[in-house]
Amino acid sequence: MSPLVTFENVSVRYGAQRVLDAVNLSIQPGEIVTIVGPNGSGKSSLLRALIGALTPSSGQITRAPDLRIGYVPQKLHIEPTLPMTVTRFLSLPVKVATHAAAEALAQAGVPELGPRQMSNLSGGQFQRVLLARALLHKPQLLLLDEATQGLDQLGSAAFYRHIEQVREKLGCAVLMISHELHVVMSASDRVICLNGHVCCEGKPDVVASAPEYRALFGTGTGGALALYRHDHDHVHGDGCNHDHPHEAAE
């Protein structure tokens, strides 16, 4: 099968700062891929480049023709000056029938929210509505940018179970960013470890034992605390064979 999205040597800059550096990756139909990486490693920039909100300074992003993307952003603030019921929001930008909107909300577990104002929703309700909207038009690729922010542990576990059901039902690929490493490791087909460049990628257990991953996150689940520390002089394992320009001394 041809991939839904391919990144070839994609670099993205904010001014002089390079946030993505020669990133190569591709997403196949139906797979769940998770991007992990420390803060500022370019995870959100990667998703925003994928939807076209950021233009690469070099390299090429190829999307499958007429690719339907469902996007759940990290956070979204709706101005209270903008009156918007949940039902109306689901009809953006394509009008959907009232019963289709109601069904989407029911599947997202929030059937009663239809007439509520978007600006009055709680964090968890908001994320579910965003997901319901993203799923309305049967996306081939679902993008989740830390979609469980603001959910408690039970809530986010339920959220990821829902995502897996969605994938089984719609057969869509899922590309998600998550900080919840233990969830990610069990729910993903493939994990991409990002720190400006792709440090390593592969099946969750392979990545979890890769030295690059350990350099980023430490060992075991307690390693999540090591999120902010990242040394560029990490040693590459066998599974990874990319070059760092400044590691000649290794």
Partner: protein, 262 residues
Amino acid sequence: MLDSFLVRAALAGLGVAVAAAPLGCFVVWRRMAYFGDATAHASILGVALALSFNMSVFAGVLVVALVMATTVSTLSGRGYAMDTLLGVMAHSAIAFGLVAVSFLDGVRIDLMAYLFGDILAVGRVDLAVIWGGALLVLALVGWRWQQLLLSTVSPDLAQASGIDPKREQLILTIALAVVVAVAIKVVGVLLIAALLIIPAAAARPLAHTPERMAAIAAAIGAVSALGGLQLAYRFDTPAGPTMVCVAAGLFGLSSLVSLSRV
């Protein structure tokens, strides 16, 4: 029927109010309140240019307002906050405009007429320009409504749905420039922003959806225009400011409604 200056004035006021309503909603939703002011101030420069090059005032204002709109759209999001950018543009444009007016020897222009408008002097041609512009703006906004709305809610969500939010912003600013250009005769430069913002703000507590808010804003704008005209006629007050006063009164009433709900 169009022979009566009062009928022409009423139709002119209605045209501007109806076109300004949906745009005013976007101005409020996107926190661009300063945009109306900036475009309006810039149009003084347009008046000066029109008089020195013997163009129609409408054309001069439209050109300057369009240049302003595209400049602001291009520069925004490149390290300048929107309000800073608009402040720079608005104040420099009005300064350049006033300086340019001072060069116009021999032509005695009544600056007051452009600052406050002269709705009672609206002729048949003006009326055609106003309604032509109003219908154009309504068609443009109606055509792009869903895309504009989603870009307002979230540029990234729009982008993911294949909509270019920058393009939608440009369409919106062009529509605003057209409204300012057609409204200059009716309420004048200083009060155009009021007609954009006040009806939309007054409609907010009464609406649950964006479409409802735009419709209510149009109704409030229309009542303000007609009511203001009637009061101005009866009490011999300046028409443009009286219309804005009525709108402000309606805003007061609607905020009482929202206060009584809490």
